[in-house]
Symmetry: C2
Subunit: 187 residues, 2 copies
């Protein structure tokens, strides 16, 4: 399976494509960062990111897209741009009917380093080893995008099946049990 | 001038089209609300909103788009969806080269009621009178979208010229003076 990982952002949006499967060696197909100048208007910046993401999807034809789940409690000075940028891979996935999954930063860190509280240097170091790269991917946003794709492959289809089962249950239940509601994340 | 007002949201996205100019009578062209079920996945909900906004732009061919500025301090349970939805009119405006302006809720309230802290009932009541409607637009999101369009027309081109001048200054200055940075809004 081929996965496009997206670390959303307006100043820097990390993109990484990884191919492989659970129990198979993983291979990096491409990695990069889209940058847009903060002096440009937000609509122009969003469009620039969209053009690049659409191009990556057309070139690499991923089987799935993995996006970092953005939390409302993150840094408020950048949260709006990050949230707006995260809409772009979502719109592309829905339009092209490509499965999309969100992974939290701690899920990604746990998947690639075994520690949900690993720092950026540890994630970059492990990604470099896992994908047998000659050089560490730079900047951190690029490594994060690859880590998202690796996380998605290693979590396999099981996660999606759980998400789908929960969604089905929600649709058929008038009111979800309180523990489900409490653990639901802000998307 | 014809303006499309957008009150962004995933559960309810208000859309309103108003035609007129400063010192001229205003006329409502269309008003509506896009609703998406909370049981659907966010990508599907964003795509549903995008399809409707693109359709409204194609049908009404607005000269400008006015979007409510979303603040990071708003209700955290809905802020991510609202921020993601606000990216949709921005992407359309940038793609189609339609001027887009953001107006804060208090700017909109002040423009249509004279009071930046007016409640929803006051805004709806004034919009009904300003546009000489037979019935008050419902729900509040629809009235808010019309109020955004009216606000944009009444603020005229002056606001955009100020925004452009500030943007030019920012581009030519290495570091903006502290009072500019402090008053800059999170988009």
């Amino acid at each position: 399976m081929r996965v496009l990982g997206v670390d959303p952002g307006l100043t820097r949006c990390g993109l990484g494509v990884v191919e492989g499967g659970v129990g198979q060696p993983l291979r990096m197909i491409d990695v990069g960062v889209v940058r847009t100048p903060s002096t440009d208007a937000v609509p122009q910046r969003l469009l620039a990111v969209q053009i690049e993401i659409d191009r990556w999807i057309a070139v690499h034809r991923p089987d799935a897209i993995a996006v970092e789940r953005v939390f409302a409690r993150n840094d408020v000075s950048t949260i709006m741009g990050t949230a707006q940028a995260s809409a772009i891979p979502m719109l592309a996935a829905a339009r092209l009917r490509i499965p999309l999954a969100l992974h939290t930063p701690s899920e990604v860190k746990a998947a690639v380093t075994g520690n949900g509280r690993a720092d950026k240097a540890q994630v970059t170091s492990m990604i470099t080893r896992i994908l047998r790269l000659k050089e560490a991917p730079r900047p951190a946003d690029a490594a994060d995008a690859l880590a998202l794709a690796v996380c998605h492959i290693w979590r396999g289809g099981a996660h999606d099946r759980i998400v789908e089962a929960v969604a089905r249950q929600r649709t058929t239940t008038n009111r979800a049990p309180s523990h489900t509601r409490r653990t639901r994340k802000v998307t």
